[in-house]
């Protein structure tokens, strides 16, 4: 995804609602998917996405529009997601799997749904700090430096967390049967 243009950044900073509309249009899918990965519930992901845009708009005076928008915006979103994870006592076991948005209607859809179910089951075993970087890398397509800015961590830590996050996911994915599924 190309970075947000300077003109939109400036207008957003000034409170222009058309600029906000363009930002929502552009980032809503990315934030929603990030929410799905972090919160594992479509309704919670939708709420998170809405709140992230509103929170960013209300805090726009803290944003320097001469700098890239994405790291600042994703930091706002990640902080919101972290707060919700804390409130939900994320680390306790026994949470339900996320609801599927649609009923499977074809074999391909069944396959897709099953793969997604296994990935989500594996992600549940991965620590939140690793899920964060995996989400920002895969869903939001941020660069490593941008991830570092978004999470206020060094580039080395970003690389380390991505590497360990993949290892943790790989082990968990194999444990829930995902590897067998991929081989079939």
């Amino acid at each position: 995804m190309p970075p947000l243009e300077a003109d939109i950044r400036k207008r957003f900073r000034e409170g222009d609602q058309d600029a906000l509309r363009e930002i929502v249009e552009r980032y809503q899918n990315s934030i929603y998917r990030l929410g799905l990965r972090m919160l594992r519930c479509s309704e919670a992901a939708k709420d998170l996405a809405q709140d992230a845009f509103i929170h960013a708009y209300e805090k726009r005076h803290h944003y320097n529009h001469e700098r890239p928008f994405e790291p600042w915006f994703y930091r706002v979103a990640m902080n919101l997601a972290r707060g919700r994870l804390r409130r939900r006592k994320e680390f306790l076991a026994g949470e339900e799997l996320p609801e599927t948005a649609t009923e499977p209607t074809a074999d391909a859809e069944v396959v897709r749904q099953e793969r997604r179910r296994l990935v989500q089951a594996a992600l549940r075993q991965v620590g939140p700090k690793y899920r964060e970087v995996l989400g920002l890398r895969f869903e939001s397509e941020l660069s490593l430096i941008e991830i570092g800015h978004a999470l206020s961590i060094s580039l080395g830590t970003v690389k380390s967390r991505l590497s360990r996050g993949l290892q943790a996911f790989h082990k968990a994915y194999a444990a829930v049967g995902g590897e067998t599924y991929e081989m079939s």
Partner: protein, 153 residues
């Protein structure tokens, strides 16, 4: 390279890339080690599953909901000039009244003071005061007039 280090290097290579020298070293190891090569392939598939899982998952359109919940900025065009304008009006008002406020107050001359007393006494209907000649220094008439004032005055 030992196999126990390979997993870390493989995941780093997939997620963020290794420095060229280390990548070459890993490549050589994978060429020689079938077990690590399989491990690398499995990890690649896991990363692909992770990457693809939510790719088709789109958000419902949030624009209307978001815009309905935001508070518009409070007259942003008004705010920037409102403060200076009020300050300017205040300064102009102060400059306008300054000459009057700073004007020195002139004291009444003795003659004017006596004239004022005379007018006050006349207002009290004292007949003798009117005979006083204010244009001379002889104030005996005045003293007489004062002496003739009623005691309760």
């Amino acid at each position: 390279m030992k196999c126990r280090n390979a997993e870390k290097w493989i995941s780093t290579q997939i997620m963020s890339g290794l420095p060229a020298a280390r990548a070459a070293e890993l490549e050589m190891h994978l060429a020689d080690c079938a077990e690590c090569r399989k491990r690398a392939e499995r990890m690649q598939r896991s990363a692909a599953a992770l990457r693809d899982t939510f790719a088709g998952e789109n958000s419902p359109d949030l624009k209307a909901a978001v815009l309905a919940r935001i508070r518009p900025p409070a007259h942003p065009r008004l705010l920037w000039w409102w403060g200076p304008a009020v300050a300017g009006v205040a300064v102009a008002a102060m400059l306008a009244v300054a000459p009057w406020l700073l004007q020195p107050r002139t004291a009444m001359s003795d003659q004017e003071v006596l004239q004022a007393y005379s007018e006050d006494i006349s207002a009290l209907n004292t007949a003798n005061v009117a005979t006083v000649d204010w244009t001379t220094d002889d104030n005996s008439g005045l003293y007489g007039a004062i002496a003739s004032l009623p005691a309760e005055l």
